[in-house]
C-alpha cells in the first residue's frame, strides 16, 4: 500500500515556518539576503529583519538561532516582544532560513543571548517606535504624545490604535537608527527575566513538533550509508549485488570523499537508496565493502593516551603562559605534589541522530536539517555541489539535541550529493551506530600537574602540561598543538594567585575527526585543574572550599597579557567581560552557604566541589556521593551560576539541570575507544549515557541575581561536575581517581 499520509508541500512549508522569511528592510543588520534575491513568502508587514506584523495584530518574530533544547526560540523573541510592547499571546515565532542577513546563526558556544540580547532589544524597540510614529501620523499629533503599551499605541488623550491597525502604516515609517533608540529600563521589563514557557512545549508534548526526519517530500527516497571505519579510508572494492536484490532497494551509490582535511565534508561511504528506511537498512546489511587502510587505521586510543601521558610527565612542552620562576620554586619547595590525569574521547550522541532531507532542482539545492549552523550547511553544500551559496536554501527544523554535533554539516553534504545523483528528494538518516562511530569526537586528553607548597600549605608554584589533539586538526591536518585559544578554556586561564606559574602544551596529532562538544576542552581541563586543587588542599591539610578561595586570592580582574598568554575570553573583549575573581569566589561562597558543607557524614559518603568560569559565566558545583561495596552513587548535586543578566530563569534552571546531568554522563559513563582506527562502541548499550536512575534525588541550581552583561548558559554547567564527583569520591573513600569515566573503578 502506498503511504496514506503525506504532507503537502504547503503543509510542510507551514510546518517548517518559512512563511515570514525575509526581506531586509532598514539595515538594522547588514548582509546578503537569500530572501532579497529569491522573494519571500512573508505574510505580514515587515518592520525590520526580525519583526513583521499582520493586519490581525499577529506579531511574527524571527528566530534565527536553532532550537536544540535551550529554549532559544522562546527567549530571544521574548526579548523582542518586551521592547516592542507586544502581547506575548499574540506573538508567532517563525524559524529563519539559513541567511547571512541575520548575522551569525551558529548556535554554538553558548552565544545566542550574549551576542544577540542587545540586537533583539533594538529590533523590538525599533518596531515599537515605527508603530508609535504611524499612530502619530494617523492622528496628526507629535510623536512624543504616543506611547506603545501591550499591543496598542495610546495617545495621551486616551485614544488608542491596535498594532494590527497600524501594520501597513508602520511598515512605511523610516527605520530608526539603532543607536538613537531608547531601550527600556529594568523596571519596565514585562518578559525579560520572567519564566515564559517554551513556544514549542505543547507541540513537543503532543508529538506534533517537527524534527529533521519528520519532514517528508513527495517522491522522497531514503538513504543509509556504510562509511569508512577509520579516518581517511576509501572504498577499495565493493559488491552491491545482494543489496540491490533487497525488496525496496533502488540503488547503491558510491559517495566519494574529497582529498584533504575532513572539515565539514562527508567521509567516504557507500549509500543504499531505497523506498523506505527499513529497506535501506536491510540493503546496507547485505553490502560487501572493503576499505583501503590509511595513516589512521592503526589508531589505538589506549596506547595513544598512554603515550601522551608519558610525554606530559617526562618533559617540558611549549610554554603558553609563564609567571615567576616555576623551576626554582619547585626545586626549593618543602613539598612537591604531582599528578597525572586523563580523559577519553566522547561522542555527542544526541537523541536524534544526524539527518537531512535534500532536493536538487534546477540550479539550486534545498535542504531541511536539524542544524545548529544553517549558514555552514549552506556553505558546505554549495562547495560540494559547486553552487553559489545563494542557490542553497536551508530550512532549520527543531533539533533533537545538538551538543555541538549538529554544527558540523557533513551529514547534510551527504544528502545533497546523493540528491544531486538521484534526482529526487533524498533523506539521509544516520543510525545510532553511524552516530557513535562517525562523530566529530570530543578530544581525549592527558594532563600532568606539579605544584610546590610552602610550610602553611600555600601553593607557591603551579606547573601544568597537557597533550590533547586539537579541533583545528579537523580543518588543517598539520595542526597538532593546542594554542592559547584552546588553552583559554580553563587550563591556561587558571585564576590562581600563585607567585610562579607555567602552562605548557605538547603535540598530539589527531587520528580522528575532533570536534567541539558541550563545553569543549573545559571538560578535560576542569577535571585536571579542579581535581588537582582538591589534591593540594588535602596535601595541605586544609578545607577544599577555603583552599579554593586562597588559590583564587584577592578580588581583581585578571590580566593574562603580561604572562604571554592570549586569552580568547570566548570571543569577547576582556574589557567588556572581565575575568572577575570576586564573582568566581561569590559562586563558591553561595554554593557552600547553600549546602551542608563540612557536615559529618556516614562512612563511605563525601562532598566534593569544583569552580570554573566558562563561556563568561561563573559556576560552582558540589556533589555528594556514597560508595558502598564498589557501587558509586551520586546522591546530590548543587550548582550555582552567575550568568549576568538572565532572560528566562526557568530555562536557565533547565540548562543547569541538563548541563549537570550531561556532566554526570561524562563523569560516570562516557568513553569512546579506538582499535585499529575504528570506534569500538556502537550504541547506547556500550556507550551509555546517564539514565534517570543515575540522576541524584536532589539536584538544585541557584542563579546569582546580576545586572551584568548576559553570559553563556548552555554549557557552563558541565565542566565542574566531573571533578566535583571525583573530589567527593576522595572525600568518601580516600581513593583519588585521576581518569574518566569513573565506571572504570566503580559500578555505577
Amino acid at each position: 500500500m502506498n503511504p496514506v499520509v503525506r504532507l503537502s508541500r504547503r503543509r510542510f512549508l507551514a510546518l517548517t515556518g518559512v512563511s515570514a522569511s525575509g526581506l531586509l528592510l532598514g539595515g538594522l543588520v547588514s548582509g546578503e539576503s537569500y530572501a532579497a534575491t529569491h522573494g519571500s513568502e512573508a505574510s505580514g508587514q515587515r518592520l525590520n529583519l526580525f519583526v513583521s506584523l499582520l493586519e490581525d495584530g499577529t506579531v511574527e518574530i524571527i528566530a534565527h538561532r536553532s532550537e536544540m533544547g535551550t529554549g532559544i526560540r522562546t527567549s530571544l523573541p521574548q526579548v523582542v516582544a518586551d521592547e516592542m510592547e507586544a502581547d506575548w499571546a499574540r506573538v508567532k515565532v517563525v524559524q529563519a532560513l539559513g541567511d547571512a542577513a541575520y548575522g551569525s546563526q551558529n548556535t554554538d558556544g553558548s552565544r545566542s543571548i550574549r551576542n544577540f540580547y542587545t540586537t533583539m532589544r533594538q529590533m523590538g524597540a525599533a518596531a515599537k517606535q515605527m508603530l508609535e510614529a504611524a499612530a502619530a501620523e494617523r492622528w496628526g499629533v507629535p510623536l512624543e504624545q504616543c506611547r506603545a503599551e501591550q499591543h496598542r499605541v495610546l495617545h495621551s488623550d486616551g485614544r488608542a490604535l491596535g498594532f494590527g491597525e497600524l501594520a501597513a502604516a508602520a511598515a512605511q515609517q523610516e527605520v530608526p537608527d539603532p543607536a538613537a533608540l531608547t531601550l527600556k529600563s529594568r523596571e519596565q521589563f514585562r518578559y525579560i527575566g520572567r519564566d515564559v514557557p517554551m513556544v514549542d512545549l505543547h507541540d513537543i508534548t503532543t508529538g506534533k513538533a517537527v524534527y529533521g526526519a519528520d519532514v517528508t517530500l513527495p517522491d522522497m527516497v531514503y538513504a543509509s550509508i556504510e562509511r569508512t571505519p577509520h579516518l581517511g579510508g576509501r572504498i577499495a572494492s565493493y559488491d552491491g549485488t545482494a543489496a540491490r536484490k533487497v525488496r525496496g532497494v533502488l540503488d547503491v551509490v558510491e559517495l566519494k570523499a574529497p582529498e584533504g582535511a575532513p572539515g565539514f565534508n562527508n567521509v567516504e561511504g557507500l549509500a543504499v537508496i531505497a523506498r523506505n528506511t527499513w529497506s535501506a537498512l536491510k540493503g546496507r546489511k547485505a553490502l560487501q565493502v572493503k576499505w583501503t587502510p590509511s595513516e589512521h587505521s592503526e589508531h589505538n586510543s589506549e596506547a595513544y593516551l598512554d603515550a601522551l601521558q608519558e610525554k606530559v610527565r617526562s618533559g617540558p612542552g611549549q610554554v603558553a603562559r609563564e609567571r615567576g620562576d616555576v623551576d626554582a620554586a619547585l626545586a626549593t619547595a618543602g613539598k612537591v605534589i604531582e599528578a597525572g590525569y586523563r580523559t577519553p574521547y566522547l561522542a555527542h550522541a544526541p537523541m536524534e541522530p544526524p539527518v537531512t532531507i535534500a532536493v536538487v532542482r534546477g540550479e539550486g539545492c534545498e535542504l531541511w536539517a536539524p542544524t545548529q549552523n544553517p549558514q555552514a550547511t549552506q556553505a558546505a553544500v554549495a562547495a560540494a555541489l559547486g553552487l553559489d551559496k545563494a542557490m542553497v536554501k536551508v530550512h532549520v527544523t527543531l533539533l533533537g539535541g545538538g551538543f555541538g554535533r549538529k554544527s558540523k554539516p557533513d551529514f547534510s553534504v551527504e544528502a545533497a550529493r546523493l540528491a544531486a545523483h538521484v534526482g529526487k528528494p533524498v533523506q539521509v538518516a544516520w543510525t545510532r551506530g553511524d552516530d557513535i562511530r562517525h562523530d566529530y569526537y570530543h578530544s581525549c586528553s592527558a594532563m600532568f600537574l606539579r605544584a610546590a607548597l610552602d610550610e602553611e600549605g600555600n601553593t607557591t608554584a603551579w606547573l601544568a602540561r597537557q597533550a590533547t589533539p586539537p579541533i583545528g586538526s579537523t580543518f588543517d591536518t598539520s595542526v597538532n598543538l593546542m594554542e592559547d585559544g584552546d588553552l583559554s578554556q580553563t587550563f591556561g586561564s587558571v585564576p590562581f594567585a600563585v607567585p610562579n606559574l607555567r602552562v605548557e602544551s605538547h603535540e598530539a596529532p589527531a587520528h580522528t575527526r575532533i570536534g567541539w562538544l558541550r563545553s569543549v576542552y573545559n571538560i578535560p581541563f576542569a577535571f585536571g585543574v579542579c581535581s588537582f586543587v582538591d589534591e593540594l588542599a588535602h596535601a595541605a591539610g586544609r578545607d577544599p572550599a577555603e583552599y579554593w578561595e586562597a588559590m583564587i586570592g584577592e578580588d581583581r580582574h585578571l590580566d593574562f597579557a603580561p604572562e604571554g598568554f592570549e586569552f580568547s575570553n570566548y570571543g569577547r573583549p576582556i574589557a567588556e567581560y572581565p575575568y572577575d575573581t570576586a564573582r568566581l569566589k561569590n559562586v563558591l561562597r553561595t554554593l557552600v552557604a547553600n549546602i551542608p558543607w563540612g557536615e559529618k557524614l556516614p562512612a563511605g559518603q563525601g562532598w566534593g566541589l569544583a569552580v570554573t568560569r566558562s563561556f563568561l559565566s561563573y559556576v560552582a558545583v558540589a556533589s555528594k556521593v556514597s560508595v558502598a561495596d564498589g557501587k558509586l552513587q551520586v546522591l546530590e548535586m548543587h550548582g550555582v551560576i552567575d550568568a549576568g543578566t538572565v532572560v528566562n530563569p526557568d530555562r536557565v534552571q533547565a540548562q543547569m539541570e541538563g548541563g549537570m546531568i550531561f556532566g554526570l554522563s561524562v563523569a560516570l559513563l562516557g568513553q569512546i575507544d579506538f582499535e585499529g582506527g575504528a570506534v569500538k562502541q556502537s550504541n547506547y548499550h556500550d556507550y551509555p549515557v546517564a539514565r534517570i536512575q543515575h540522576t541524584p534525588k536532589t539536584i538544585r541550581s541557584h542563579i546569582v541575581p546580576s545586572e551584568a552583561l548576559p553570559a553563556g548558559v548552555g554549557e557552563p554547567g558541565v565542566p565542574p561536575v566531573a571533578p566535583s564527583i571525583a573530589n567527593a569520591v576522595f572525600a568518601a573513600t580516600g581513593k583519588r581517581i585521576r581518569e574518566l569515566p569513573l565506571s572504570q573503578h566503580f559500578s555505577v
Binding site: M1, V4, G69, I204, T205, T277, G402, F403, N683, V689
Partner: protein
C-alpha cells in the same frame, strides 16, 4: 496486507516482511511523533502502547502487529485536549529538545495506568529504559508525580485505548 487498530482507527498496510512498527508508523503512515533513537530497545524514544502495554516499536515486526491495538503519542491527546500525563509534562515544563518526550510520555502513561500512587523508586524503575540526553530526568520525576495525582483524582479515569483523544 496487515490490519491493525491505530489510535482507534482500522488501518491496513502492505510493507516488506519484518519491517518494525516504528518504520511502518513513520515512513508508511506518516505518524512521525514516534521517534527513532537507537533501533535496539535501548532508549525508549519509539515507545508506543501495544495492546495497552508500553513497547518499543523498533522491536515489533509488522507480523506481530496484526490484529493489535496500537496507541501512539498522536492518539494520546492533542494540543487542545492533552492527556493528563501530557498536561503534567507541560505544567512541569519538562521538555528541552523534546525528541525523547513522546516515548517518555507514552511510557509514563502506561506506567500510571497501572499505578496511580507510585513511589520514587517505582518511578525510576518504570522510566529507566527511556533516555533523555538533555537530562530532563528531575522534571520527569516531578511530572510523573503530578500526573499520578491528576489521575488519582476521583473524576479521572484512564484507559489508554479508549481515552485516546481524537486519534
Amino acid at each position: 496486507m496487515t490490519s491493525f487498530t491505530l489510535n482507534g482507527a482500522a488501518v491496513e498496510v502492505e510493507v516488506p516482511e519484518g519491517m518494525p512498527l516504528l518504520w511502518v508508523l513513520r515512513d508508511e503512515l506518516g505518524l512521525v511523533g514516534t521517534k527513532y533513537g537507537c533501533g535496539i530497545a535501548q532508549c525508549g524514544a519509539c515507545t508506543v502502547l501495544f495492546n495497552g502495554q508500553a513497547m518499543r516499536s523498533c522491536q515489533l515486526p509488522i507480523s506481530a502487529v496484526a490484529g493489535a491495538e496500537v496507541l501512539t503519542i498522536e492518539g494520546l491527546g492533542t494540543p487542545d485536549d492533552p492527556h493528563p500525563v501530557q498536561q503534567a509534562w507541560i505544567d512541569e515544563q519538562v521538555a528541552q529538545c523534546g525528541y525523547c518526550q513522546s516515548g517518555q510520555v507514552m511510557q509514563a502513561a502506561w506506567f500510571l495506568s497501572n499505578n496511580t500512587d507510585p513511589s520514587d523508586a517505582e518511578i525510576d524503575a518504570a522510566m529507566a529504559g527511556n533516555l533523555c540526553r538533555c537530562g530532563t530526568y528531575p522534571r520527569i520525576r516531578q511530572a510523573v508525580r503530578r500526573a499520578a495525582e491528576m489521575l488519582a483524582a476521583p473524576v479521572q479515569t484512564f484507559d489508554p485505548l479508549t481515552d485516546s483523544g481524537e486519534g
